[in-house]
Structure formats: structure tokens, C-alpha cells
Symmetry: none
Subunit: 225 residues, 4 copies
DNA sequence: CATGAATGAGTGTTCATTCAT
DNA sequence: GATGAATGAACACTCATTCAT
């Protein structure tokens, strides 16, 4: 997706993500449903291959094997398909491992499992994660939307941290919410650096170090049972 | 800079950052030097205001008060001006505080100062930092270039950590290099979230928490002198 | 097509004939076919009127009555339309007189007929022939392509000459291949001088003199039957 | 000089050769004379290398080692320098061999010598001859100017032929003027094909065949002295 | 519903020529 | 005379989107 390419310039005009916010309803007929699915699949392929900017609608419809005009039967803009792809990917990311967050008693083990799970999932969806980063850097609305969604995740983490603090397992002199934000950020950024930027760190070592840092940063001590 | 805007479409074709790597030499005459400087200044204004993608050459030359054609007397492409702006900003970022890295005896105080310095600098150049993020997400070559430059910084941090470990001030059970990468990443991301994404965290609280996390993560204990 | 004209500057950038070598496939729908045909016809008009260099895409699409952008539905560049026009003209040039090469017994009459045929055809396509000359002088690839095509024609002539030599009708002390090249060249150049450069020679006199020269140069003697 | 190059587009606007017809007077100072000479020399290099269309004024002044603006101290346009180069080359072409046309008694030997002389001269100035062809195909005024100059040459040849006819050395049933035009054209085209188009014919064989054809076409018989 | 041809706004880029220094 | 920075007209080309069939 280097801008170097002279052949695939960037699109002009755009409905924008703000407008694409409210997706139109799904088609009713099975055939329509199938075509739409093919389109989303094709869009994902093209987006992941070319990036959001360089992806041309023609490439997407071509990949899907439908005519250019038919695109608009299902979506209003490139942004809208992108959102559809995003929805699909989010669905995929959650499904496989429902027990992504093992409820073990050992908090350290929990953190380690969570970190490993995060990295593994990130790796599986690396192309798409890079894509998200790109779109967020391009579109204000999308960026804001993403920030908000992240907050929920951070809140969950903050709650966990507070619980550990209350139980005396974690040090209580730290702001749980900020700590959650920053530590989550640390893991997210490490994953980004590794799987999108191309750092060559060993994944096991990453898990170990991230876990260590996280645990020590929170001064988590395993209760000597 | 939302893609929503229907009025300022994005340009097409691009020389790419790989090609823009070797900047042409500076003009020799004072007049040329002055014009070039005006151009770089104008480019910075437009880039920071519109983002890299939405910035049009016409806007830049317009802002600089020169004709469109004159742009090419100084730069070959938007990428090349961007690099010139980057050079200028990097220069600016270093100058003000030479004592950016206070050599105090107290490592905690050092870390705190460093974190505060980083955040303050980031805030001052927030628009530009967001710009960097955008360009990196768009262009492979630029992304790689940036990753490499970051490595030097991380190496420096890793060395500091190792020294602390050798002095027994920091825990020695952690991989210094990975720790440096991840903790630096944590701070960078926090700054990005605060100043680019628009989180509303209090800056003093950020400095405090980041420092605490960093210190505890490395199990730094102040030698009771 | 004098360069004097200050009003119609020549276009910049060009895909080149090397790239235009492999024409894209024809459109499938009747409408597409019709539009393409209109475009080729318009291109021919504009090319013959303005020359290749001064022909602007806008003029061509304007003449064809379609929008500028639609041009690219059918061709990638000016070179590619030119090649399409060339194909069309070549088609036209062959069709009318299938018996272009009369199989008469009298070799002199044959040569006369061939010369007359050539001149008449050249006159009919004079504008286009001048165009060919221009394009050949401008583009290396096209020039080479043309040279190769000419070779086949010369080979045919050389074979005829060799047959006449074997039958004792033509003198056998001349290099048949070179003679064919040079004599063909003579006729071609005469036609160019007359119909493109604007010499005012009488065409019958041309036919007569060319035939005479050709016949005598080869020392062709009619077998006294 | 293929149009394929994306880097050297064709120039826009042009004074045209009609306007460039009357060259301005030479500079008076020795320094001015020297600069002008350098400019003409540089122009020749660039024209022969890049062709008339792709030659940029900047390249010419660069090659000459003078500033872009100074060009206009000596010439009004690209056409005018071209004409200056043409003058220089014409001067060169005549000088070296004044006895280019040996006045031997043997007409065949004369023709052979003339043909060889022509080919050799053409070869020496091949790049420039190709250039002439290009400019002629581009500019109507220049083409006409060239046609007229050629006429003088043909007239001379026609006169020679008539003399041979009167002496009974050449057949008198052919139109001397047309024959001169066509046979001169034959030689010229052969030279063009060989040295510009890149045919690989052996030069001695060319001289031989051209001479034979020319001699036989005119039915020249050596008077058995 | 599908098709694919048609649209057209929009900007980067070139280089001959001018002119203030 | 020389310089070289500044000019500005001009056009090819792209691709999201529309719409007649």
C-alpha cells in the first residue's frame, strides 16, 4: 500500500463515515443476501490487500464478480462497505474463543492469558488491524467512534484492577482508570508494532514481558495461599 | 479533516516517500531560500490544518503566496515538502530544551521529568504528531523509516534500564530491551490518545500515573541513601 | 498543423506506442461497440486535421459527442486510439481492390498497374499517410513496428523480381532484395512528395515515369511473343 | 526519443518556424559570439540526443553552461536555435569534400561517386538527418522550406540527365525532371532507411545496387571510346 | 435486481518565457 | 550581459456515482 504506486490514486469525494453510520437494512431475498455477502467478502480482500484509500470500488465489485452498478444496491459508499466488513470481522474476532478471558483464580495467570489471547487474535487479524489504524488516521468520525468503543474495554479493565486493589492484591496507590488505559495501550501498541509495523520480537517473550510489566506495574502479589 | 467534506477532494498520484527520500539541494540565492522557507511554512500550516491527504498543492502555494508552478522549483512532490516540514519540526523539537534528559541522581525523578517533557513536547506539536500518524498509516516507506528512527530512541532507553539493573536499582528479571520498547510505547500511546484522539485526562495525573507504572514495572527502588 | 498556432498547444505525457501495443478487448454490448466506433471515427477526423501531436483528447471526445472521461472506457491513451484508427484504415485500404495486384501476363503492365494502384490509394489516404510519417518520426517504437511491416511487402516484391530474373525477363546482375527495397522506396517517396509535401506533378506522368524507371532499372524486356 | 518516456513531455506553445525564419543578427562582442556558439553546439547535442520535441530549453542552456534566461539574449525560440544548428550543419556538410561531385568523364563512375558520397555524408550526419525528418513531419513551414531547397538539388540532377540524353548517353524517352526527382528520392530514402531506421544493409552493396539501378533506369551506356 | 456505459469534477505537473536583481 | 526565480496556461486522467436498458 505504498503511495509510490502511480497506478492507484486515491478516491475523491466521499460520503464519509459520519453519513455511513446508519447502515441500510439487509436485502430480503436469499439471492440478495448472497450477493451482499460476496460483496463484503470481496471488500475485505481488497481492503486488506490495497488499504482503504487505494481500494477502488471497481476492484471490489470485480473481485465479487458483480457489476459496478450493483454495488449501490447494497451500499451507499465505500465507507459503508468498510463498516460492513468491520462488523463481520468483529463478529469473527469474538466467536472462536468465547472463553477468551479465563476466569482463573490466579490473577497473574489471568493477565498472561489475556495478553496472549490479545496478541494471538491481533496476529490473526493483523491486516485488518492495520487497516483500522489507517482509516482512523484518515477519518475523524471513524476515529472518534473507535475511541468510544475502546473506552468500554478500558472500563472493564479498570474495574478488574479496582477489584484487585480492593482485595489487596494490587497496589492501591495508582489511578485504576488511567492505569488500565495506559497498560491496555501498552499491549495494543506492542501488538501493532509487532504485527503491523513488522518488529521481529518473539511472541512468547512478548507475552512474558508484557505480563511481567503489567503485574509489577500494578504491584500484584499472589496471595500466598 | 473528516472525509465527509464534499468540497475538498483528495489529490491523485504521488511520487511516494521512497522517491522523495533524497531531497534536492537548497537554492543558492537569498531569494530562493526565502521562497523555499515560505513554502515549507505554508505546507506546515496546510498539512496541520487539512491533513496530508486533503492538502492540495494549490493551497500550499496559495498560502505561500506564490504561483502553483513555482512549487516545482523547490520540491518534486507533496511527499518531498512533507519531509522538509518534518525536518523543520524535528529541528524545533530538539532545540528548546537541550536538557531534555536531566541527569539527576534520582532515577524516579528522571523518569518523571522525561515523561513530563515528552508529554509537553507532544502537546506542543500535537497537530503534527497526528499528521505523522496519518502519513505513517498511509505510506509503507514512511512507516518503515519511522520505525527505524524509533529504534534508536528505544535502544537508549534500554541502555538506561540495563544500567539501573546492574546497579541493583531495577529488577533484573525483565528483558530490558522489550521493556524499554513496551514502556516507551505506553507513554507514546498515552500522549497520542490525549492530544490527538482527544481524551480528556489531566496532564499532571498522566505524568504521575505513567511514572508510577514505569517505576513499578521496573521495580525501581530508590536507594535509601 | 504548423507549430505556429499559439492556440492549440500539444499535450504532455504519453503512454507511448510500446505500451499501447496490446489493445484492450472490444466492448461487448452494442452500445459500447457503437460508442467505440464513434470514438475511432472522431479520432481519425481530428488526427487527420490536427496531426497526432496537436490532437487533444478533448477534441476527440468532443467530436465523438461523449464526455472526456468516457474515452478511458475504450482506450488508455492517445496512442491506443491511434492504433485503432490505423487498424481501421488498413482494413479500408485493402478491401476496395482485392485485385490490387493484377495477375496479367505482361510484367510491365503489372508494374504499371501496381504503381498506379499505389499512387491512387496513397492519394485517397494522403492525410493519413502524412500522419503515419509524423508518428513514425516521433516515436521509436512505432517507427520500428512500421519498418517491420514494410519488410514483408519488400520481400514480396523481391520474390517477384527473382522470378522475373529466373525467367530471363529481368536482368540477373542486380541484388533482387536491395533492388526491391530501393525501387519500392522510390515509389513510396514519390507518393509522399506528391500527396503530402505538395509537389504538383501530374499523376499520369508519375505513373509513366515510375514504371519506366522501374522497368528499365530491372532491364525488363517483354518477351517478343 | 520514444514517446514512452514519462519524464520528458513535449513543449507547449511555439513561435513556429515561420516566425523563426528571419534570424536576428549575430552578437557583436567576442564574448557574446562565444556564448552563442556554445549555445548552438549544446542545442545540437541535445536535439540529436532527445529529438526536437523532447529537447527542453533548460537542457540546452544547461549543456551550454549558461543560465536559462540568457538563452533569449541570442534566440527567440527553440525553432530559432534549431535553424542556427541547421545552418551550422549545412556548412559542415559542404566543406570537407568540395570535390564531392567529381567531374570525371565516366558518367557511371560519376554516379557511383555521387551515391557513395551521399551515403557517407548521410551516415556522418545520421542523427541530424533523422532530426530533420522529425521537424519536417511536425512543422508545415519547415516542411515547405525543405521541399523548396530540395528542388534546387533536383534541378541540378535533371540538368545532368538532360545533358546525358543530349549526348546520347542516356535514353531520351524519360522525363528528365521526374526521373531526377524519383531517383534522387530513391537514394535519399535508402539512406534514411539505412541510417535512421536501422536497416542493416551493407554500404558497398547499397552503393553498387543504387548505382546499377540509377544507371540502368536511365539506360546509360558508356560510350565505347 | 443486474448491468455496464456514461459522466464530470477536480488537480498535479510541465516548461517556454519573462523580468527583477 | 547574465542570472535564475517566478509565472501561468493548459491538459490528461481517475473513479465514485448515476441511470437507461
Amino acid at each position: 500500500m505504498s503511495m509510490t504506486s502511480d497506478v492507484s490514486p486515491r478516491p475523491r469525494r466521499s460520503a464519509g463515515f459520519a453519513e455511513a453510520a446508519s447502515p441500510r437494512e439487509l436485502p430480503t431475498t436469499p439471492r440478495g443476501l448472497r450477493t451482499r455477502a460476496r460483496l463484503v467478502e470481496a471488500a475485505r480482500v481488497v481492503f486488506e490487500r490495497d488499504g482503504f484509500l487505494d481500494a477502488r470500488l471497481v476492484d471490489i465489485t470485480g473481485e465479487a464478480g458483480i457489476s459496478a452498478g450493483s454495488f449501490y444496491t447494497y451500499f451507499d459508499s465505500k465507507e459503508e462497505v468498510f463498516l460492513a466488513v468491520l462488523t463481520e470481522v468483529e463478529h469473527e474476532m469474538l466467536h472462536p474463543d468465547v472463553r477468551n478471558v479465563p476466569q482463573g483464580d490466579d490473577p497473574i495467570e489471568s493477565i498472561r492469558a489475556s495478553n496472549r489471547g490479545y496478541l494471538e487474535s491481533y496476529e490473526r487479524f493483523a491486516r485488518f488491524m492495520g487497516l483500522l489504524e489507517q482509516v482512523a488516521s484518515i477519518d475523524d468520525d471513524f476515529r472518534e467512534r473507535r475511541r468510544k468503543r475502546g473506552e468500554a474495554f478500558v472500563q472493564r479493565n479498570a474495574r478488574s484492577i479496582r477489584q484487585l486493589q480492593e482485595k489487596g492484591i494490587a497496589g492501591s496507590d495508582v489511578d485504576a482508570f488511567l492505569a488500565a488505559s495506559f497498560l491496555s495501550g501498552m499491549v495494543a501498541r506492542a501488538a501493532y508494532a509487532r504485527f503491523v509495523l513488522g518488529e521481529t520480537w518473539d511472541i512468547d517473550a512478548m507475552v512474558e514481558t508484557l505480563t511481567q510489566l503489567w503485574v509489577d506495574a500494578l504491584k500484584i502479589s499472589v496471595p500466598s495461599s
